[in-house]
């Protein structure tokens, strides 16, 4: 989205550019880096690493936040801070797996559709239309009911609903890349179609998809948390934020910390992805 007619909008000095957009992307990246660090270092920085799993301390159940337990303890006496830190691993694992699987599937199908055009494009696009007709949570709900509840189920269920966006986006970009001069020259030189598609068209169609992927991390985290909250995802003793909210929800009025901190963790992670994605998108739009 450049300014139409080449008119520069007012008040867009380099300083403001740096202040407005890049600061946002940087803030998102820093937040996200913190979450990633928490996930990677969970076994070392968690105050009670065993509480991330199946340890129980019935005598210390539902202790309010204190110096010993910053976020308090849950129904079976596990340290909530430790479980929130370990929960970052589950959430990020799901997010990365879903984005990689659906990103690869979507980009491959999209680039083929965009380059080939004709009936190949029509068939692929109609199939994506069908998948896009289901709101992501709805289709993953139906799938998660059908499969056994587990982290793998959540990944599969969300990935199945997520790829069409990337297929559609890549197809439109690839279609315009395919009309460029260097693709014509490659074709005239007798380069085989698969090589043209994957060596030349694909790398030049990636940027918008990569931005979209970083923007979608938050959506995946929220959908995964919702599935776990409904009991269709991770189960005990895995530390998973949505599951922690579900297990603690009846205690909210009396022991608020059991539900509040995992929820805040979901919010913070999704927010980090969204801020980063917004910053990147605004930058790309220039």
């Amino acid at each position: 989205m450049t300014a139409p007619g080449g008119v520069l909008p007012l008040r867009r000095t380099p300083l403001r550019r740096l202040a407005g957009v890049d600061r946002l992307a940087v803030a998102g990246a820093v937040l996200l880096a913190l979450v990633v660090l928490a996930a990677l270092l969970a076994p070392w920085i968690a105050p009670y690493p065993d509480d991330g799993g199946s340890a129980t301390h019935p005598l210390e159940a539902l202790v309010p936040p204190s110096g010993a337990h910053w976020f308090g303890t849950d129904q079976v006496g596990r340290d909530v801070l430790s479980r929130v830190l370990f929960g970052a691993r589950t959430s990020l694992l799901i997010a990365v797996a879903v984005l990689v699987i659906s990103g690869v599937a979507g980009v491959v199908l999209g680039v083929v559709a965009g380059y080939a055009g004709g009936w190949v494009r029509d068939v692929i696009m109609r199939v994506t239309d069908v998948f896009l007709a289901f709101p992501a949570l709805l289709l993953s709900l139906a799938l998660a009911v059908v499969l056994q509840p587990s982290v793998t189920t959540v990944i599969v269920a969300i990935a199945v609903t997520w790829w069409p966006w990337y297929a559609r986006l890549t197809a439109s970009v690839a279609a315009s890349v395919a009309t460029r001069g260097f693709v014509d020259s490659a074709r005239c030189l007798g380069v085989p179609a698969p090589v043209i598609v994957f060596r030349h068209v694909l790398p030049n169609s990636l940027t918008p998809v990569l931005v979209q992927l970083s923007l979608d991390g938050g959506g995946v985290i929220l959908t995964a948390a919702a599935l776990s909250y409904l009991g269709l995802g991770a189960h005990e003793p895995t530390s998973e934020w949505g599951l922690m909210v579900q297990q603690g929800q009846s205690l909210f009025t009396t022991d608020w910390w059991v539900v509040t901190f995992p929820g805040l963790a979901i919010l913070l992670t999704a927010f980090a992805f969204n801020v980063l994605g917004e910053g990147l998108r605004a930058r790309l739009a220039r």
Partner: protein
């Protein structure tokens, strides 16, 4: 326009056919035997066989798909395993309640989101813009089920400002019984002049509607801002500025109307998403809509009901898409050429 209409209707029909097929395939993947779920765990082999025959489970898959489609078209959406009633009747009863909730939420989202988007565009790059953008990103990042629990705990259980759960105080059924026409309680109460139930429904609506409104309000604000900024960089805006209109007047008097077009189609598309998001909220607030029905169906592995809910929402989404495209085709002839 006629050709565009026919082509677009054909596309939508194709997508709906795909949606039905996909729903059918997913429902066939269920590990449990639906005949066992229906006949009960202590059924004799003969009863099981009868149930299998009744559901046509012995037929080849394509035949089953064909039967499924024929029944759907004939208005038979199957029998719910947990309510033992026709799924279609269940959906007819549950959907209006969801519609009421999501409708209220979308009104809130538009009323809050558009002015915020305008304010952000007006003060682009400055503090109000940054804070509006950050809060709209917070709004789209919040897990709805958690927000629902938090608001319920603080404002209903804690402060007692709003009722904890339900659609209205059912004790009122005795003092001022409601005549049901549309199944949308607020509408029925309004048109039959049933003020106690109307007031009760509205107070029950506040918290769940606010929770569902968070996401659409966030995207509406972002979209309004983006569309306004694009619009105010066009030539007509330069002219208006040259004529001496202030920045606020350029935005609200001239740029807002063309900018609202994409915003309103966004609202139509967010509608189906909000219905599904509302599932989680309905479960928390015990709202008698599709979400609670879906939650009960999931708990009892009730495949016909889950298939019914899935189909209904997907078809709604296709319909919303179609409506947006057709409206834009009417308003903007360039759309038809695509």
């Amino acid at each position: 326009m006629t050709r565009y209409l026919i082509r677009r209707l054909g596309q939508a029909a194709l997508v709906v056919a795909g949606v039905v097929t996909l729903t059918f395939v997913i429902m066939r993947l269920v590990p449990g035997d639906p005949a066992v779920a229906y006949a009960g765990p202590r059924a004799s082999p003969a009863e099981l066989a009868a149930a299998r025959r009744q559901f046509g489970l012995d037929d080849p898959l394509p035949v089953q798909l064909w039967t499924y489609v024929r029944d759907l078209l004939g208005g038979d959406w199957g029998t719910s395993l947990h309510t033992r009633r026709p799924v279609r009747d269940d959906l007819f009863q549950a959907f209006p309640a969801s519609l009421e909730l999501v409708g209220a939420a979308l009104v809130v989202a538009v009323v809050v989101g558009i002015p915020l988007g305008v304010a952000a565009a007006r003060y682009k790059g400055r503090l109000p813009d940054l804070s509006i953008r950050l809060s709209s990103m917070l709004a789209v990042s919040v897990p709805v089920f958690w927000l629902a629990l938090a608001l319920q705990t603080v404002f209903a259980s804690g402060l007692g400002w709003f009722p904890v759960a339900g659609e209205y105080d059912t004790n009122l059924d005795r003092t001022s019984p409601l005549h049901v026409y549309t199944n949308v309680t607020a509408v029925d109460a309004l048109f039959t002049g049933n003020w106690p139930i109307l007031a009760s429904t509205l107070s029950h609506l506040v918290l769940p509607a606010l929770v569902i409104a968070a996401y659409p309000a966030g995207v509406v604000a972002q979209m309004t801002r983006a569309a306004l900024i694009e619009e105010s960089a066009r030539d007509h805006a330069r002219l208006e500025r040259a004529l001496g209109f202030g920045e606020t007047a350029v935005l609200t008097r001239f740029a807002l109307r063309p900018a609202l077009n994409p915003v309103l189609s966004l609202v139509a598309l967010v509608f189906a998403y909000s219905i599904v998001n509302g599932f989680l909220v309905e479960a928390v607030f015990n709202w008698p809509g599709l979400g609670r029905y879906a939650a009960d169906s999931i708990r009892s592995l009730d495949t016909p009901s889950i298939a019914g809910v899935t189909l209904l929402v997907a078809v709604l989404y296709v319909a919303a898409n179609l409506a947006v495209d057709l409206l834009q085709g009417v308003v903007d002839p360039r759309v038809r050429a695509r």
